[in-house]
Symmetry: C2
Subunit: 343 residues, 2 copies
């Protein structure tokens, strides 16, 4: 696999950015989480960051583990939902239209063939992963292919002038994959990592947890890459590569919900500095995500108890990032507005 160059952000501008923020006509420290303005400045290495051509890429893939009955919906829904994305009817379409975000959909590994003329990024690695209860989900070669294709997708978008990008996913069964990765890489008991996905009942949840415990016991892994091969999905691996490339290209990386955070966990295990480029958009209603954000040591912008996936958290948080940047560039200072300071 190629390596990524993701430098730690220079503290050089930190003080000047903080000073610029402090001089704005508001109480000191009143900005709360909109201090992501400072992060955007550091990523772009400027006191006047600007967001250009926001994009969201939704990666879709199927999962062999669905054979074990870990999802409330059949695998076919992945394919059907991709068609729904392409005809503009899914939640992510609605939110991207509203926010002026360019939406792209990539077939990372759906278990069905799409007509080549569909307006889709055709990046299929294989028709779904293997059932990781029985064998590794993918080969090392497939994982590398997925990471490199993801990286190329981001590189192409970057070349068109985009500097802020979010990633979503669609893949029936992928909460199982994300839970296993979280358990292994976060060194956490599987019970803390497993949730109801798209709507399991108590009994089904117990069953899913038992299956994942067994799968985790089956595969020993030495590092994040091996864990990705053992338990990952093609959409997760491709998103991981896309995120790494985005950080290398000094883009702001919008991280969505549970699955996207699991992909980020893999990326961050490989290249810890990626965290400096990431904005955590949304805490999912999927149980396990709160814990995963704790493991990553981050606070998301939104907590709307949604379990929509698809990058919807990125789309909904985007205006907050825009607001933070606009604040930094457009707001008056105490001096320019002629306002008295603290007594």
């Amino acid at each position: 696999m190629r390596s990524f160059h993701i430098p730690s952000l220079s503290a050089f501008l930190q003080e000047s950015l903080q000073q610029k923020i402090n001089q704005k006509t508001k109480p000191i420290g009143a900005l709360g989480q909109l201090k992501i303005a400072l992060q955007a400045g550091l990523i772009q290495n400027t006191l006047t960051p600007v967001l250009h051509h926001p994009h969201i890429v939704v990666f879709a893939a199927d999962h062999g583990i669905t054979e074990e009955g870990v999802s409330a919906y059949p695998s076919e829904v992945t394919y059907q939902m991709v068609l729904n994305f392409l005809s503009g009817g899914a939640a992510i379409n609605v939110f991207c239209r509203q926010q002026g975000i360019q939406l792209l959909v990539a077939d990372a590994g759906v278990k069905a063939d799409f007509s080549p003329e569909l307006p889709l990024i055709h990046a299929k690695v294989a028709r779904g992963t293997q059932n990781f209860l029985r064998e590794p989900a993918m080969t090392a070669r497939q994982a590398i292919q997925a990471i490199e294709r993801g990286s190329q997708i981001t590189a192409d978008i970057y070349a068109q002038g985009c500097n802020i990008i979010g990633f979503g996913e669609m893949g029936i069964g992928n909460t199982a994959s994300a839970s296993a990765l979280m358990s292994r890489l976060g060194n956490l008991p599987i019970e803390q990592c497993t949730g109801r996905g798209t709507g399991l009942d108590d009994e089904q949840l117990t069953r899913k947890t038992a299956i994942l415990a067994k799968a985790l016991a089956t595969h020993t892994t030495q590092n994040a890459f091996e864990a990705l091969c053992a338990f990952g999905g093609f959409e997760i691996a491709m998103m991981c590569g896309a995120m790494l490339q985005a950080a290398e290209s000094q883009m702001v990386v919008l991280v969505d919900g549970f699955i996207a955070s699991a992909a980020f966990l893999v990326a961050c295990s490989l290249y810890p500095t990626i965290k400096e480029y990431a904005v955590f958009c949304h805490q999912s209603g999927e149980q396990g995500h709160r814990r995963l954000l704790e493991v990553l040591g981050v606070s998301p912008l939104l907590n709307l108890q949604m379990r929509l996936g698809e990058g919807t958290g990125c789309a909904l948080a985007y205006p907050l990032v825009e607001a933070a940047v606009a604040f930094l560039n457009e707001m008056a200072s105490f001096e320019s507005a002629g306002i008295a300071g603290k007594v």
Copy 2:
């Protein structure tokens, strides 16, 4: 005082709206707090709610209690910030521009005179309230005047076709006023209601709390209106009237941070059904606001630890309300998209 007609929302459409939401291409219940789409439908009494001409009105006023040194900033800042609003340099200007929200500024009771030609709603009740450590903040006549002027401001905006409105405030000293109202109307110890406002240190906070405890002991009140007279501010009273009129006009009412929630608490004590029309936008970083939202029994859309006031929480939450409504109107159903249901 005139009375307001704020009917409880009919449950008539509840079931049809819920059914429409359930048929969307997403897991059942996955919408989380974006279920405000349902609330918007109920308020507008339709399965296809639409948001028209969003407005935010910032009410500004001064507070006699600042004589006691309860704020980190001098009173003059209220006047100076109004000028900053008018020249477009405050946080609320930046966020409203970004979101296409029409911003209006009203002088509810600033302790300085504005030139009549300034593009300001001239609604001054008096040049600041009285110091409520010594006497009631305002007379009953002044409180009624403030409520009625606020109501008229909303009625004028409604007449121009607006159906969603948020309210902000600017008033050095107004966290003291809001804390006293919260303590009295919520029947809570003042320590749970008092915070650092725009930036008090520990000693100043202790002093502010002691002053408020003394003021609360000074004024006995029989109801919310009397509490408003005793401890309120002109911006709080005017916002209260503006909120009541908005609900009467079947508008979606966006409630901002600590001060706005205190105004809402007064409105809600007078007309409890107003809560059905309200969307709680933001949990402020001001200590006391979390508790106030608990008292009201509501969950805000955002929790960004901001302490900006000015209606900024409304402006930042607005795109979420827009997203919820767009979701309801634009998203495909399982049937229309040809997607399989649960197994």
